[in-house]
Amino acid sequence: MRKATWMMSRLGPALLFVLFTSASAWGQDPRLKINNLDKLSAKAAEVVDVTLDEPMLKLASKFMAGDEDSEDTEAFELIKDLKGVYVKSFEFDKEGEYSQADLDAIRSQLTTSSWSRMVGVISKHDGEISEIYMMTESGGKKVLGLAILAAEPKELTVVNIVGPIDIGKLSSLEGKMGIPKMGLEKDKKTKSSSGGQDAKK
């Protein structure tokens, strides 16, 4: 009995430390849970659903690295250290197809201490929300993840990039890769992709 008490007094703090560190590590997960938005696919006129985990990114970067195309090389430089890229974007024919609860489910994950909002534009008049969040290491030197939340009356987009991402380089990608810089004309076909597998609909 005495031995058990002694062991508890010795192991207790160690156990608490392990629990604490694992809990903080859990809180530092830059991957957002965005699967709750899957239900919107049925209502959307256009869906972009990209789920690329580390192995798929490594595979993609292998093909980008071998390309002579300079834009592919730029994209390769951007993704080579990433752990995941997750995008869900929905375009609807009419307003009100997604709810505030759908948005709140994402935003509640971004209001934790691990994430910090870099930019946020909320236009109540137009019903638009554009927010950029970033998760950095405790020192703030290394970027662990990026989240972009863009909501318009007929459009909802969530971008979650896990890993060290250069925002300057990401921003400069627009207008490259054969994509015009402004006035992007998108085809209205439903596009859906998920790590080489069909997205859940």
Binding site: V48, V50, L52, M56, L57, L59, A60, S61, K62, F63, M64, D72, A75, L78, I79, V85, V87, S89, V119, V121, S123, E128, S130, E131, I132, L146, I148, A150, T157, V159, I161, I167, L170, S171, S172, L173, E174, M177, I179, L184, K191, S193, G195, G196
Partner: protein, 117 residues
């Protein structure tokens, strides 16, 4: 001397074999001449040169062709998956970049707006 000659003549004189002698000899020779091979014999016969060489070459060729086909198929599959992943990466980065820039532009527009009084 005469006796010896007679004895020799008697001993070496031609005699007819007993009836059925030839048959008996043939009956004894036949099994030795054509032995029926058992499974071991057949196995040993199979693994004897040059048949073994040809068989080994054929097996090796089949193995090479199969391995080549599997490798080619795997490479093709990997290439298709890689190209699909690359397409998705570019699509995702493009979307992220666009949304990032749209947000920046909105911030700039908000900054440029005169303050409400």
């Amino acid at each position: 001397m005469k006796d010896l000659e007679n004895e020799l003549r008697k001993a070496l004189e031609r005699r007819e074999p007993p009836p059925g002698f030839a048959k008996q000899v043939l009956a004894r020779i036949k099994p030795a001449a054509t032995p029926t091979p058992g499974w071991r014999g057949a196995l040993f016969a199979f693994f004897r040169w040059p048949r073994l060489g040809w068989t080994a070459a054929l097996v090796a060729a089949c193995l090479l062709v199969t391995l080549g086909a599997v490798h080619y198929r795997r490479a093709q599959q990997e290439r298709a998956e890689g190209e699909a992943a690359k397409k998705q990466v570019i699509e995702a980065l493009h979307l992220a970049s666009r949304k990032l820039n749209v947000t920046w532009r909105k911030v700039q527009e908000t900054d440029r707006r005169p303050p409400r009084t």
